[in-house]
Symmetry: C7
Subunit: 234 residues, 7 copies
């Protein structure tokens, strides 16, 4: 839970886009709580590529493709999101459109940071205007472009950071501690997938979910791993 707000601060947090006396934006902090309640999502950079992983609901009735939580944005870019999935869905679709428009306009794929800035700007805007609420979602964007491999975090304030390995959502603290201990530069793809599986198992062990992992390699092609491929990697 968020820090207890002292009673004399009552009201600062019920209005959008207002600072508290000590310079905090409570609505943005509450939106970050929505992220902390979301499914654990992670990204790991490995030698020549990057992976994204989370869990997706499993069940006889749900159609697996619709429940996938690792989104492809473009050939060379993907994303995972923790928090309000409807917010994520809309921002993902807008990003897909933006990526296509960029490709058509400039005849080359959009780079990962360019796309991240579009997402971050939209999210910051929502913290500034009284007529909007912040987006209740954080993203990990993964891309391989001319400038290399990028894993970029976008949080509800619209801030962007790039990581070698990072996790968001309810298992983030546990996951990032493991990354600090186990992630190494230039690990190979197999090691990265094993690390992802290990972290997801420690943070999201629901029997109703199944791993959802995608990889973008040096070929700059987003590719989902099948359940078989995941099993073989273990």
């Amino acid at each position: 839970m968020v820090d207890i707000m002292p009673p004399e601060y009552m009201g600062y947090d019920r209005t959008i886009a207002v600072f508290s006396p000590d310079g905090r934006l409570f609505q943005v902090e509450y939106a970050k709580e929505a992220v902390k309640r979301g499914t654990t999502c992670l990204g790991i950079v490995f030698n020549g590529g990057i992976l994204l992983a989370t869990v997706k609901p499993k069940g006889k009735l749900i159609v697996p493709t619709s429940a996938e939580k690792v989104f492809q944005i473009d050939d060379h870019v993907g994303a995972v999101a923790s928090g309000l999935l409807a917010d994520a869905r809309v921002l993902v679709n807008q990003s897909r459109v933006r990526a296509q428009v960029h490709k058509i306009t400039y005849e080359e794929p959009i780079d990962a940071w360019g796309l991240a800035r579009v997402v971050g700007d939209r999210m910051q805007l929502s913290t500034l205007y009284a007529g909007l609420r912040p987006f209740g979602v954080a993203f990990l964007l993964a891309g391989v472009d001319q400038s290399g491999v990028h894993l970029i975090e976008a949080d509800p304030s619209g801030m962007l950071y790039e990581w070698q390995a990072y996790a968001i959502g309810k298992g983030a603290v546990v996951a990032n501690k493991i990354f600090s201990q186990k992630w190494k530069a230039n690990i190979d793809k197999r090691t990265a997938v094993q690390l992802a599986i290990d972290v997801m198992n420690k943070t999201e062990k629901g029997k109703d979910t199944v791993l959802d992992i995608a990889v973008i390699g040096s070929g700059k092609k987003f590719k989902k791993l099948s359940e078989d491929e995941i099993k073989k990697m273990k």
Copy 2:
């Protein structure tokens, strides 16, 4: 009923588009309550097609066609809705227009997911702006297109999921439990209709209502079942 809101949360839920301290959007959760109070609606995928079912009011005075609750969107797409029917009616009409515009513009029918995204985006938008309330309705969209058979749920937050069999509205918990036990891949149309009749009887047994069932088969044509056809299927 929705979870009891602790008294110190008073006010977070009376303003549109504001997060509570633990990152919830109460207005969206209350809109989902409107869905839970709505008539039970369900969709079932069968071998080569899909059905939608709900009940419609019966009576000497009401004109049956106006009371129908399974809406045709296009030749190959239909929908059922639980919650505020006026909201449903408006979104259904907008979807019909969108489907026609797509057909004229691209000279091919819109696919089910394309239509679902239009509905979901409109619903998510209503959760983001302070000047709008969320839509108080959930949909099951059923479509048969080039990519196959799709049963897509859209909830008031604007989230979309695809199912093999799914129910929404006040009988949803009971209905989805039955689906988990009885639905099987590649069941034939007759079995699917029997399953739908069984579920509707267990969840909506009012004497003032009558079953409303539509089927979209491999011919990609939305077709209402007559009362006689429903009786024969039993």
Copy 3:
């Protein structure tokens, strides 16, 4: 009166376009109260046509035509309204304009359901935006078009239903009970008028009012009944 609202719900009903915790829109429900306080209005489908009836104020000073409460929309469509008459007047005028525009644009009269959807969409919109109040009026639209005879109800939420016989306003409960017992398919015009007179007498017996009845027959022409014609029908 509307259900007693428990004290912990205070405030949900004073803001436009906000859901209560159990998913209700109080402002729409209160607008429906304005309808329940309105004059009883009814419509009856008979063999080859349809009638609309209500009472209008009687008096030496009031000009009868201005007090008429059965509105002609187009040659083949009419309406009665319960609730805030100023809201009704404005929506009726907008419908008349819409009907004329349709006739000029497409060179054929608008059909009854097309017109009803225009009215319903406008009313639903007013329940969605924070800057508007719902319309405090319900309509019965009566039309005879290519597809037959239609009696369509539009309520403040923007929902539309089609009936064979239906009443709205303060006598609606009594009236609709009588319709359930006495209305039969294919009754002739005379029987329908007698039924309307009987119902109006039982629900609106003010000495300051007089019956206002209009009929649209198979000639698709809206026609007011004179006081003499009404007397003869008894």
Copy 4:
């Protein structure tokens, strides 16, 4: 005074365009109170014409023409208003412009009901949007056009009624009772003026005011009666 509002209704009446639980619009009802506090105004239809009457302030210093309260809108249309005179002045001016525009566009004078609808629509609009207050004024519009002689009342809700003789403002109850007893169809102009003088004397007997009467006869010309003419009529 308006009905006492029970304490549990507190707040419904302080926000524009919100319904109370029993379906009332308090802001419109309060605007009608402004009308009930206004100067008594009346209109009387006589054989071949119509008159409007009210009182205007008398005094050495005030310029009589500026204090006139019977407004000419066009050659053949006039108006009196009770309530907030500034609101009246603005609506009268807008009506004059509208009448001139109609004359220029269609090369014939606007009819009385067309003008009344313009005024009524503007007034209803102000009851619908949260950003506006209702107009605090009621009108009696008097016109002689192709369709005959018309005395039309427009109230703050935007409702329109046509009368043979009618009064608004603080003396309305007394005046309308007299009209019920004494007005007869086809009275001549002299009798109508005498009736108007009688009613005004019984409702507005201030020593600081003087009668203001205008007549539109079969020549369709608005004409103010001079003090001498009024005296001779007595």
Copy 5:
């Protein structure tokens, strides 16, 4: 001070453009209080012309022309204002622009009532929209045009009255009583100036102010009186 507002009316007066239960617009009434706290201003019609008078601050440091409170609008029109002087200044400037635009467009000077209506309409508008406050100023406009000599009062509600002699501001009650007793039709200019001086001395006797008087005669030319001219008139 304004009438005491009973406690149960609390809140009606803190929101712009809302009626109280007895049909009053408190914000407009409070704006009129700003006028009652303003400097006394007066206008007097005399034989063939009109004068405007008020006091302006006197002092070694202030530049007399900037402190002048009798504003010239056009050759033949002037104004004095009581209340918020910044509001007055802006409306005066807008009036000057309007007068010039009229002269250029129609090749003749604007008439006094035309100008007054522009000012009154702008002021009424500010009482109608929730996003604006009323103007806290009243005007006396003086003009000599084809239709004669006019002294027109515009108050914060946007109402317009024409007077032979009239005063506004904190000395208005005293001043208007004197006018009732002493003003006569066809007084000559000298008598009018003497009356103005007498009234101003009785209502504004501050040692830090000096008389500010302007006259528009039959030549239709606005002319300030010098201190010498004022002295000679005494």
Copy 6:
């Protein structure tokens, strides 16, 4: 401090653009408090020219030109400001642009009063709309143009006054008392500078500040005095 607001007035001062019952605009009065807390600024007209003076922060680290508080608007116009300096900065920049646009459009420099009206109109507008706060700054504009030498005060209400010598800000009372005693018409430039130094020393004696003085002489050229020039003048 501003007058104590009696408790029953609570709330009138927390909403923008609302009158209190006695006709005051508290937000404008509070904005004037921001001016009274600002640095003392003054202007003095002398024979053939005008000076502006205030203090600017002194220190090893601050760049003197950036701390200058006497702003040049155009060759012949300058300004000093007390209150919120960011508001001042923005209005000064807008004035500079306006002056340049005027020069280019009309091929002559803007006159001082024309520029002052632009500033005053912008400030008055901010007191009228509910969506804006008043500007928290007052200006002294100094200009030499065809019509002579002008020292114009613009306050947060948007009112404009012209002075021979005037001070605003926290030392205004003391300063203006000195001006009343010591300023004389046609003093020479040296005497004016000495008066300015004397007044600034008596109102702003901080050791961290240094005098900032500019002069516009008959050559219509704004010129800052160097520290040396100021010393020589003493």
Copy 7:
């Protein structure tokens, strides 16, 4: 912490763009608190150039370039920011676009003050409109242009100051005290870097951070110092 706000001031600080009775804008003051909680950032002018310094997060997982806190705006301009980093990121990006547009339009680089004014104007605007919150960030902009070397501070009110050496953020008080004692005009680059290192060590000693320093020299080229270069400078 900000000064304790007395209880009778309750509410002035919860609404955007409202003055308190003593003329303060609490929301702007609270935004400045966000700055005071931010990372210490500093700028130092040296002989022929300028440096910017702050700390950036260090760690195995974070990608150093993404964590850099000294932003390049254009070849010749850079910036550091304390406060809400998402706000900073957005304003930095807008500044980069503005700089490029200027270069393309005028075929010369934008000067440092021109860019600072763009940033300051945008920040002041956010303090003026009720629909926006202030930006919760302060900037130090460093530029070398035709007019020399400039270090400009922009605070949340939109005010701009130019310094020889200045620090913002949580270590600002300590840092600026050191600058007063140790900064000298015409220090060489090495001395400036040593001073920056010394100040940063005294204000931000977290083990998880590393110094981030950039220099713009007489070649007008923004250049980051590598960790090696920083070590050698010590």
